[in-house]
Symmetry: C2
Subunit: 283 residues, 2 copies
């Protein structure tokens, strides 16, 4: 039963370094364009809603993006005593922004996405993720996040969420010490960074572990990785890594226990459980 798949209605992402491929059954190519930064494709899939692809890599689908977006936001937001200003680097689809905006005590959300086309297409094809785009607390900056962070005012941000593509090409600098130093400087006293950190099975040694080292070298006192399922990403198992000026713990546990908004994946038990480290990653 080897593949002889020439059926034109599958979108396939080959993860050649991992030796795997993942396909979604699609019915229509809704949009395709080459921007100054990347090739963007939007498909209608048969069972996962709409699909956004950047340079051949699956970014999100309607059906399962909640896993990633909830875990990129709520664990960090509830690990800070008074998160007032949140900066999102990347995150052009606005799914993370929407989760952050559910936290009423947040006063300001600045999103620095390099490619405005991603946001405009998300408004069109993922409108359910863009319901907070006109929230008066939200400020969109369409420019390079690395450069923006270099010039950010000191002590001006409480949480930085790095919701980027893989560390190849333009996003590579987002995984390096110099960027983390600028984050450290821009963060307030108890500030936190949370950043997507790839697959625990496939990228731990090559990406996630080096991230911990770079974050610590930049001055962060504690770093921790949390884990969650993400079916449309390679291996279906994903991670995010937090870095804290002080320490990382669920400081507002009563708020996490009694959520004032709806979530599909996140809750108090999921928060605590997400930090459980598999033995093979402790070695």
């Amino acid at each position: 039963m080897e593949t002889q798949n020439t059926h034109s209605s599958w979108f396939t992402e080959h993860a050649t370094d991992i030796g795997t491929a993942f396909s979604l059954a699609t019915s229509t190519l809704l949009h395709q364009e080459k921007t100054a930064y990347q090739n963007i494709e939007i498909y209608k899939t048969k069972t996962f809603g709409n699909l956004m692809v950047l340079d051949g890599f699956i970014m999100l689908t309607t059906r399962d993006n909640f896993l990633y977006h909830e875990m990129m936001s709520h664990p960090a937001l509830f690990s800070h005593a008074h998160p007032k200003h949140i900066a999102i680097v990347g995150g052009g689809d606005c799914g993370t922004l929407q989760q952050v905006a559910q936290h009423n005590w947040v006063e300001k959300i600045t999103q620095i996405e390099i490619d405005e086309h991603v946001t405009r297409l998300s408004e069109q094809y993922f409108p359910e993720l863009c319901t907070s785009n006109n929230d008066p607390r939200v400020k969109f900056v369409f420019s390079d996040g690395i450069d923006w962070m270099r010039h950010a005012a000191k002590n001006s941000i409480d949480i930085i969420i790095v919701d980027s593509t893989d560390p190849i090409g333009p996003a590579e600098g987002l995984f390096q010490k110099q960027f983390y130093q600028h984050c450290w400087s821009a963060l307030s006293e108890n500030g936190l960074v949370i950043q997507q950190s790839e697959s625990p099975l496939a990228h731990w040694e090559s990406i996630t572990k080096p991230m911990h080292n770079e974050m610590q070298a930049a001055g962060f006192n504690q770093t921790k990785t949390l884990f969650f399922p993400q079916p449309v990403y390679p291996t279906g198992w994903w991670s995010a890594t937090m870095a804290a000026k002080n320490d990382i713990h669920l400081i507002r546990d009563s708020d996490a226990k009694q959520l004032t908004f709806d979530t599909k994946y996140y809750n108090y038990d999921i928060h605590l459980s997400a930090f459980a480290m598999p033995n093979f990653l402790k070695a």
Copy 2:
């Protein structure tokens, strides 16, 4: 970037009901045979070690089977005060059996696998999973597990592990009330069943939830599902469901904290975390 993949060195499993496909880069077809029960294929993959496929469905790979096998065994074994006799229904690759055999206080392991060819091929192509096959505590029975359970002596088994294929074809009866009634009868006073229960994202309503109902209808007092990553199964996110005559909790927590054997995934924190229920499954 639609698929035009006619490269002969990918094995692809199409999960047409879910609208996804998963592929592994392969280098050699090591073995293929049609037994009385199924079509068995063994491939050498480029990055996941060897791969066993039954009737077109991926069963296991060398690289990531530890996730499934550890989570099908240790959570149940540590949730029983004195597990002496363990029965494994299915489990022909012997990976679950090997994990069970690491528990020194287990006196007897009976494995009821319908297709002896699966076990013999596992001994050849997954020898690292078969290191306990000659353990004097292990008894192999190559016959139908549903029928075997119907005739099992009352109160003779402490834990039943149902390590089967999907609930279509011969394994369908393993997901039904009558089988669970026979399990209930064969189990000792504080007996437990643990059974693979498919993908939380794709099969919760169609398979996992009905399993809970069937288990409870068969007389089990408590049922709980635990979750774990399994990259080579559809959606990369899998589950196992436990049913207890009494209740389900980590009764031997000190043993789980101080493991006397090596694991790659399982540990005390992972055990507790695996039971965290995502919000969308609570609804």
